[in-house]
Assembly symmetry: C2
Homo-oligomer: 267 residues x 2
């Protein structure tokens, strides 16, 4: 039982909702790391006895700060189809909805396939890169071994850059075999693009995140607990909100997930 | 009143839900064009008397085929915040949910801003390109004037390509001033990437689509009814599902929307 498994754990309640609890190990500056909220919402569907297929798409909307302590997750099947299952998700504290989401699960069949995107090549291996220093970082950052190729968390020297991209190797700490839940959390691993671009401190918060899962459970299992590669960039910073696009690659060159988010920032 | 306004129109019902009706003008091969379903769901929130702010994010999950005829839309505010408003959306026919969605509205304030993505440059203007032929296309395609720079709807000669990208100018037909609703519909304008890549006919259907709106209502209004530029590509085609990423640009070089979808295909 790793800290990740502990943080994502849910208990089925008599009314069909799931009871969970924020984990100090995945705390952010305020409340839990958003990737953990995404993983917890997904886990409510993954763990449901009527679940069919594997995760294909997940959208999580961060409606309000998640308070430290217990929460419940409502996961409802909106529609079952031959090849897809549609979920509506809510994370609730007290009487208030703090996150909403939807997820699509799918039964995949072998078809013609083609990977059009290219994994960045010629990169240093994780063993040849230093681990990101953890001093002064919130607890959740300690739960990941991040090794930056470029675009690391910057010094806040306010030297504005032309490019907000990052490329890094990522692994759970302690290492843990990759699955859909940890992959969902890793999709929110990237530091805010506005920090990389502006090198200026400002309040930020993810508003909405979408993940498309490209790999099967079996492919993720082959990755085991080795480092995955994350690549992230922004298209636009505009009047209080910016977007981020990212891909998570297996070390064998398979695309595991593509993910997008829109993030609030204050000037 | 254009055919678009007619198709997107909703009537408030006594129970707070919205009544709409599919429009033959926006019919696809089976049921309505998915972009119109997205626009209708967004319209239920846009038209709501408690709506605050402008659309920032929209996710639509196509849970089942929409049947021709009437439908109702349930739009519920899950949470109001100082700067964002969170919506849960459902499109219902009979007792069945046929589409689910979430949307975030936001009050934007002027901040430091930077456009990091580059609009493709050196392109021919719409007036210098032929309109896409409409013969044999479903009704919705007739509602758009599409002028391809590259990656047009291919002949199905099964000559597989290495690249699934498309670039085209798009305008409503008849022309109509751009707003969030028509922009949402345009985000689903792109023909399936698997057709461009494989040049092979196969059953396809969008499963989930997310849109991030980068422009304000005022910026969209300045675009009026002139052509916008659409650019789309896929990262991965894998065992029955592929993704699509696209951007919609104003003719003045502003990014209006970035959008992503995951699409079912059969071999």
């Amino acid at each position: 039982m790793t800290p990740f498994d502990d943080a994502v754990a849910l208990t089925l309640q008599p009314d069909g909702s799931w009871l969970g609890r924020t984990s100090p190990a995945y705390a952010n500056m305020v409340g839990p790391f958003g990737g953990m909220t995404a993983a917890v919402l997904l886990n409510a569907a993954v763990s449901h006895r009527e679940r069919a297929g594997e995760p294909l798409a997940l959208t999580v909307n961060f409606a309000a700060p998640v308070a430290d302590g217990s929460f419940s997750v409502r996961a409802r099947i909106a529609r079952n189809n031959r090849s897809t299952q549609h979920w509506s998700l809510e994370l609730v504290q007290g009487d208030e909805i703090v996150a909403t989401g939807t997820s699509v699960f799918a039964v995949r069949r072998e078809t013609w396939s083609a990977l059009e995107a290219k994994m960045p090549s010629g990169l240093p291996r994780p063993a040849d890169l230093p681990r990101m220093p953890l001093h002064g970082r919130p607890p959740w950052v300690h739960r990941y071994d991040m090794r930056f190729v470029h675009g690391a968390m910057p010094a806040f020297d306010e030297a504005e850059q032309h490019d907000s991209s990052s490329c890094l190797w990522i692994r759970d700490d302690p290492p843990r075999p990759l699955d859909f839940l940890s992959l969902a959390a890793i999709c929110d691993n990237f530091f805010p693009r506005v920090f990389v671009r502006r090198r200026k401190r400002s309040p930020v918060g993810t508003v909405s995140m979408t993940i498309y899962f490209h790999a099967s459970e079996a492919v993720l299992a082959e990755q085991a607990n080795r480092f995955v590669l994350g690549v992230a960039r922004a298209l636009n910073f505009r009047n209080g909100f910016f977007d981020q696009s990212a891909e998570i690659w297996g070390d064998g060159g398979e695309l595991f997930a593509s993910t997008h988010q829109v993030v609030y920032y204050r000037d």
